[in-house]
């Protein structure tokens, strides 16, 4: 697929990255243009487009995963015969964004998941799954299946920059991921050598990089395997786990992963479960060639989810990826432990109230006890005097404290309930107004009537409970 830049009507600038600008296309909703600052060699891009297209090396089930879960380059936008000005790609569907308390929706990057969910709820009014939650494991399972697809073809493709910004997630219809920046991908030959133009620079995002890739060099297939494991560690563990600096210094790392006791009681997540050795081997800097392929992870996480009884999560992941095509034959999960990385799960400990580490107060749960009406702060120091360092764990008096997280969560829940109620009625209405589906419509309308009746009864009961004390009843 190719087209010329002049054929395109270009709309608003959506975002600007390090290597290009991303524009909306008014004539093609759901599709975006990524434009490079200066034209690139069209050939590499053509091959990447063809790789995932019909007649390419991907099996149909695997192609469905790539189509549904990535912004894969769909067409080359030409500037001259062999010069690409950019590419067309699918826009991340709306469910891959999150609406903050301010009403603005933002792309759901992995950064939301790599911190204490309580802290994120306080900051943005979002309800996120807790650490160790099957939904989080499901997201990594979804990612493992996409990477499995990338590795499954001949030639395989490495994404090369699986960072917080490039992996979007959603749990609205079950766990799903959506990969950005796929034009950064590279095809690899049987010897592991890149097939693209020599001299092409593919940088990884710092803090999300593979510590074994020397500065100035490009990531190979093993880098994606490291990233997958790092993402498991950070989003299942809901923390930063900054390990690369030590690894670059050649140190062995010992990781303690706090998880709910209930999760650790399951044999698939117990301290001696094979998944921990798998995690260690995948994060190894001493033996990058020994990092297991994504298919091993897909099989292992399938077993973990099944062991946790989360079969609905497994089904949702398969359904979202457009095919329940089985994974490649599972590789044996057990294997030698990594020489340099150990991972030890540990029953969850209460987390430090990190929001007070800067002794700044702000949206802290302490506000629950003493809600303050507005964000105006009283100066805490006069003269060239000094702000008293707050007691860790408590905001100092007069700090700008607002928005306790609990009412915010209640608000989110109410909004979700209302949205569900609305879609239920829309669902009935749609069938009622479709000729030939009136029967179904009537049945659905009956369901709505029952729901409305129950809601009305509960509402009346609550109202009565609130009002009766005033009437002296």
């Amino acid at each position: 697929m190719e087209l010329s830049r002049s054929e395109l009507r270009v709309g608003a600038l959506l975002a600007e990255g390090g290597e290009g600008k991303v524009f909306e296309l008014p004539d093609r909703p759901g599709t975006l243009l990524k434009q490079y600052p200066r034209p690139v060699d069209a050939d590499g891009l053509r091959r990447l487009v063809a790789w995932a297209g019909p007649g390419g090396p991907l099996a149909p089930g695997m192609a469905a995963r790539v189509r549904s879960a990535t912004a894969w380059p769909q067409a080359v936008v030409l500037d001259g015969p062999d010069r690409a000005a950019g590419l067309l790609m699918a826009r991340a569907p709306r469910r891959f964004s999150l609406r903050h308390r301010d009403g603005v929706a933002r792309l759901a990057t992995l950064s939301y998941l790599t911190a204490d969910p309580v802290r994120r709820a306080a900051a943005y009014g979002l309800m996120l799954p807790g650490q160790g939650d099957p939904a989080r494991i499901g997201l990594v399972y979804a990612l493992a299946r996409v990477l499995e697809a990338l590795e499954s073809a001949d030639p395989p493709v490495g994404h090369g920059d699986l960072s917080a910004k490039n992996v979007l997630w959603s749990t609205r219809r079950g766990p799903e991921v959506f990969l950005l920046d796929c034009d950064n991908g590279e095809r690899f030959g049987p010897d592991g050598a890149p097939l693209g133009a020599p001299g092409r620079r593919r940088a990884m995002t710092p803090n999300w990089d593979d510590p074994t890739v020397p500065a100035g060099q490009n990531p190979g297939l093993e880098a994606d395997r490291y990233s997958l494991a790092l993402i498991f560690l950070r989003i299942v563990g809901a923390g930063h786990f900054p390990v690369q600096k030590r690894q670059k210094a050649g140190e062995a790392v010992d990781i303690e992963l706090d998880l709910p006791a209930a999760v650790l009681r399951s044999p698939v997540m117990a301290p001696d479960a094979p998944v921990w050795a798998l995690l260690g081997r995948s994060l190894s800097a001493a033996d990058p060639e020994g990092r297991p392929p994504a298919s091993t992870w897909a099989a292992a996480l399938h077993d973990v989810l099944a062991g946790l009884g989360a079969t609905s999560v497994i089904e949702a992941v398969h359904a979202a990826q457009g095919s329940s095509a089985p994974s490649l034959p599972a590789q044996p999960v057990a294997g030698p432990a990594a020489p340099d990385v150990t991972v030890r799960p540990h029953p969850i400990r209460p987390r430090a109230q990190v929001w007070t580490s800067s002794h700044a107060g702000g949206r802290s749960p302490a506000a629950l006890a003493a809600p303050r009406p507005s964000g105006r702060a009283v100066p805490t120091a006069t003269g060239s005097g000094y702000a008293p360092a707050g007691t860790p764990g408590l905001p100092p008096p007069g700090s700008p404290v607002v928005h306790p997280p609990l009412p915010a969560q209640a608000k989110v829940a109410l909004r979700q309930a209302f949205a569900a109620w609305k879609s239920l009625h829309a669902w009935a209405g749609a069938a009622l107004s479709t000729p030939g589906r009136r029967g179904a419509g009537v049945r659905r309308a009956a369901v709505c009537a029952v729901v409305d009746f129950v809601v009305a009864c509960v509402g009346l009961l609550l109202f009565a409970m609130i009002v009766s004390p005033f009437l002296g009843i």
């Binding site: 900051a123 943005y124 923390g239 930063h240 303690e256 700044a360 964000g375 006069t382």
Partner: protein, 235 residues
């Protein structure tokens, strides 16, 4: 947790920014109003992006005859609104530098106790006037702030407009290139300050990206209407 294990409480290192704002009487009106108008944008640009917020800590210090902390060093994702600033008295650089020196040290100690690791802090110094305090006092306070023997000594960016003196600002940034900026002749605060705040925001955001590189760099802002003070203006 065993002593050297990596656990959930270990976080990326943070980059502390101290906005040090002149609120002397001459800042009243347009300059202070536009600072207050731009603060919500700064808070949102940093705080509402978790990838930026998690590596930036931000504080606001004001100074006139005295210096005070208006916003203690904070994760902006957890701050509802940055408090407004109000014009006050004269322009004591000495009070500003003494306050910064003490605040940075105590913030560092408090942060460390809570498990934070710091990159070298940055001070963004904004003034529209010349120091009104005794030269010996502010020189001494400045020397203590940039003392090479003090590990937490900040990198300083200075921005001046109105009556600000390029030579003085250059001294504030220790004569370092691309660290001090002065408003162009005839530029009015009502246009300079918003540009300055925008420049500051993108400087913080791109500094946050450099944090991820493990070697935090203070990205000097590009502010239309302001020109870097050449290093040789020191004398």
């Amino acid at each position: 947790m065993s002593s050297d294990a990596v656990g959930v409480e270990e976080r990326y290192a943070v980059f502390p920014f101290y906005l040090c704002l002149d609120v002397s009487a001459s800042m009243a009106g347009d300059p202070i109003d536009s600072v207050n108008r731009q603060m919500p944008l700064l808070r949102a640009s940093v705080g509402e992006d978790p990838a930026v917020a998690e590596v930036i800590r931000f504080a606001v210090v004001t100074f006139s005859d005295v210096a005070r902390t208006v916003l203690p060093l904070s994760d902006l994702s957890l701050v509802e609104a940055i408090p407004e600033v109000r014009p006050e008295g004269r322009t004591s650089y000495g009070a500003a530098f003494e306050h910064l020196r003490h605040t940075i040290e105590s913030d560092y100690q408090a942060g460390r106790a809570a498990g934070d690791r710091w990159y070298r802090p940055a001070v963004v110094f904004i003034s529209d006037g010349r120091p009104t305090d005794d030269e010996a006092r502010w020189h001494a306070a400045h020397a203590a702030l940039v003392d090479p023997g003090w590990k937490r000594r900040p990198n300083i960016l200075a921005f001046g407009f109105g009556q600000a003196d390029p030579a003085v600002l250059s001294a504030v940034v220790e004569g370092k290139a691309n660290r001090a900026f002065i408003a162009d002749e005839g530029a009015v605060p009502a246009t300079v300050v918003p540009e300055l705040m925008k420049g500051l925001i993108s400087s913080i955001v791109s500094s946050s990206a450099s944090v991820y590189s493990g070697e935090a760099q203070l990205s000097p802002p590009e502010v239309p209407g302001m020109t870097p003070i050449a290093v040789d203006q020191l004398d």
